[in-house]
């Protein structure tokens, strides 16, 4: 009967999930570190990544101090953004929800804007030639945490998730407005510094920073994984979920905490990265036709990592000296992807309420 058939499709899916998807990410990872403004032959590249030496001593530096941290950042950020997008889409049963609907990114930008544009008022904290990257991370985290606290305050008071969606959007607008006012009064240098941050950047993380970043991401991902069951139950709505013994309020709060942790830390370390969180869950659902989070979870994460690696490869414009802002590239890639899916699937909201 059905168990046979179901397990057949399940096993096919497992092959895809545990073989093809990771393989794709690995290939894209290698492609990503092999391309760049400096050409390094493949044989040297493999040699260097395996701990050996290349033809030129600078190559070792380029690969280990720049390219590999950047590619790792892309993998972690892609994984985290895609999964927090998936969580928000399920919680709010809204195909347009993403990691940033809670206003976390706006909070991070508020923190950075305060540091960059209002910092000089506080007492010449900043010298414009180079803001310490740790300081930026701290400011962004602080801002994200501020908005996160407000969201949590609201979420313990409310009964349904839709109210939270509206509240999140309002927080986003309000913090955006405050940043706007700061920009109005800022000097040209301050403005430029802030603008550069909003472009987003996957590079520039030192191994030290990468260590902290990956610990935070892994904690966030672990939370996301433990929330599979409530998210699946939530597909039927909150009342059904409760009747199945799911503690709704607690689950909702942990979904918010894990999303904030992921989205907040990614924005803090890489700046805002648009569209990955919204587009990847849809893209994944198109490839593996299911809403079951147990299958979606690894698939969405790996697709997110793959997409961000592709975007980063495009951003560094192989063979040229220029690096495009990653935030612009993800939007340029993400928007057509979403339109294509809408046209192909006819009705994107079928995933939530057919």
């Amino acid at each position: 009967m059905f168990t046979g058939e179901a397990s057949l499709t399940r096993s096919k899916l497992k092959v895809r999930l545990f073989l093809l998807f990771p393989l794709l990410v690995l290939i894209l990872f290698l492609l990503n570190i092999s391309l760049g403004s400096v050409h390094i032959p493949l044989s040297d590249l493999i040699n260097i990544t395996l701990g050996g030496q290349g033809d030129k001593s600078t190559w070792v530096n380029i690969v280990w101090q720049f390219r590999i941290p950047k590619a790792l950042t892309a993998v972690l950020a892609g994984f985290g953004l895609a999964l927090s997008g998936l969580q928000m889409q399920t919680l709010f049963r809204n195909p347009l929800a993403g990691p940033f609907v809670l206003g976390i990114t706006s909070g991070a930008s508020l923190g950075v804007a305060t540091l960059v544009m209002a910092g000089s008022l506080i007492g010449g904290l900043i010298n414009y030639s180079g803001v310490s990257s740790w300081l930026l991370v701290l400011a962004a985290s602080g801002g994200a945490f501020f908005v996160f606290s407000l969201v949590m305050l609201v979420s313990t008071k409310i009964k349904d998730s839709m109210t939270l969606l509206v509240a999140g959007l309002m927080f986003g607008s309000a913090t955006g407005a405050i940043v706007g006012i700061m920009q109005f009064f800022a000097s040209a240098e301050q403005l430029q510094l802030y603008l550069i941050w909003t472009f987003g950047s996957l590079g520039g993380l030192t191994w030290e920073e990468l260590k902290v970043f990956s610990i935070v991401i892994i904690v966030g991902l672990a939370l996301v994984i433990t929330l599979m069951k409530p998210r699946n139950a939530l597909l039927l709505g909150e009342e059904y979920a409760q009747s199945m013994g799911i503690p709704i309020k607690k689950s909702r709060i942990f979904i918010i905490i894990s999303t904030s942790l992921l989205a907040g830390s990614i924005t803090a370390f890489c700046g805002p990265i648009a569209f990955v969180g919204i587009a990847v869950p849809h893209l994944t659902r198109l490839m593996i036709n299911t809403s079951d989070h147990k299958i979606l979870l690894p698939a969405v994460g790996l697709t997110g990592a793959a997409l961000l690696l592709i975007c980063d490869t495009i951003a560094q414009l192989p063979g040229s000296q220029y690096i495009l802002p990653i935030n612009a590239v993800t939007s340029l890639v993400g928007a057509p992807v979403i339109i294509w899916i809408i046209l192909k699937r006819k009705n994107i909201s079928k995933s939530f309420a057919g």
């Binding site: 009967m1 079928k350 057919g354």
Partner: protein, 341 residues
């Protein structure tokens, strides 16, 4: 009636029992009581239809009984245990629900959907045991949805989806199933099918099945008990037939132009009396059509009609003051009557 129902009620321990229960909402700190002093019992193996006009508080009571909403006053005992002392996780192992407003999780397959019923029994890793698989298979077979398993939820019709939701509730395998208008928005065939399914489930699985419904005639014919909620919040209960004969149902629904005891819409005769003879369904439906058109049926009339089979053909012999004519449909019979009078 009371002594009878008490005897049968005492035969088993109730799976749900309430004492002096008040149900309602807390709106901005203030209690809004909708139902007061409700004392009811729910027993294994019985189908109970819960009826009452819109807005009388049926859903509120169902949600309170199933633990989705907290009682404002009084006690609810589930398997003899006070509901506030049982975790929502444990309640889920006793009570499963089917709700009116369904959110269709489009991309979930029917099989996955039924498996959701096993969630109270699995850890966060969602690994199903042999027992879980067996229960799901059993629920699928019992509710007759094996042919739907490879569909996605959004491909199902309303009736099919409701059956899948019943299978999901069945897979949850508690002693109690609570359904809030499971046959709203369904066509007659599906409504009958769902009611029959629920009755069979109650009788064959020994679960207590409680459902809110507006389908009076279906409820009367399928349920073991009726709960009736009047507009002013009075709850009366009993076997359906007892409730009909005692007039309790008429009181609650305040029927206009419907005679519950005969199951007919009232009609006032404004034409002649007709002497009708015949038997079985053909007699009944002929009588229906005549009464609907204002004739009355009785002896000693000028016109007589005989319904019978002649040469294997259903025939109406209309005798109008000695003149006899045969026709082969009710429509022809009625037009004959109209032309002759």
């Amino acid at each position: 009636m009371n002594s009878l129902s008490t005897i049968s009620l005492k035969t088993s321990e109730p799976v749900i029992e309430t004492k002096g229960l008040s149900a309602g909402y807390i709106v901005s700190g203030r209690k809004r009581i909708i139902l007061e002093d409700i004392s009811i019992e729910l027993h294994s193996g019985k189908l109970i239809s819960f009826m009452g006009p819109n807005g009388s508080g049926k859903s509120t009571l169902l949600r309170t009984l199933s633990g989705i909403q907290k009682p404002l006053k009084g006690t609810i005992l589930i398997n003899q245990k006070e509901i506030s002392k049982i975790s929502s996780h444990e309640i889920a192992k006793s009570i499963s629900v089917v709700l009116t407003k369904n959110i269709v999780p489009g991309n979930l397959s029917v099989a996955d959907l039924v498996y959701l019923g096993r969630y109270p029994y699995v850890s966060w890793r969602i690994n199903f045991s042999k027992n879980d698989h067996n229960k799901v298979e059993w629920a699928i077979e019992k509710s007759g949805i094996a042919n739907l398993l490879n569909y996605k939820a959004f491909e199902l019709s309303d009736g099919q989806f409701q059956k899948v939701m019943i299978a999901r509730a069945l897979a949850q395998d508690g002693k109690i199933m609570i359904l809030d208008e499971p046959n709203a928005h369904l066509d007659l065939n599906n409504r009958v099918e769902i009611m029959n399914l629920l009755r069979d489930l109650a009788h064959s699985t020994g679960k207590a099945v409680l459902l809110a419904t507006h389908e009076l005639d279906l409820a009367l014919q399928t349920s073991d008990y009726l709960w009736l909620l009047s507009k002013d919040g009075q709850l009366s209960q009993g076997m359906p037939e007892d409730m009909v004969l005692s007039g309790a149902i008429d009181e609650v629904f305040e029927f206009k132009g419907y005679d519950l005891k005969t199951g007919k819409i009232l009609s006032n005769p404004y034409r002649q009396k007709i002497n009708l003879t015949g038997k079985g369904h053909s007699f009944l439906w002929t009588k229906n059509s005549l009464e609907r058109n204002g004739y009355s049926i009785g002896a000693g009339a000028d016109i007589s009609i005989m319904v019978l089979y002649q040469d294997n053909k259903l025939t109406w012999k209309v005798n109008f003051s000695g003149q006899e004519r045969s026709v082969h449909s009710i429509e022809a019979m009625l037009s004959l009557l109209e032309n002759q009078t």
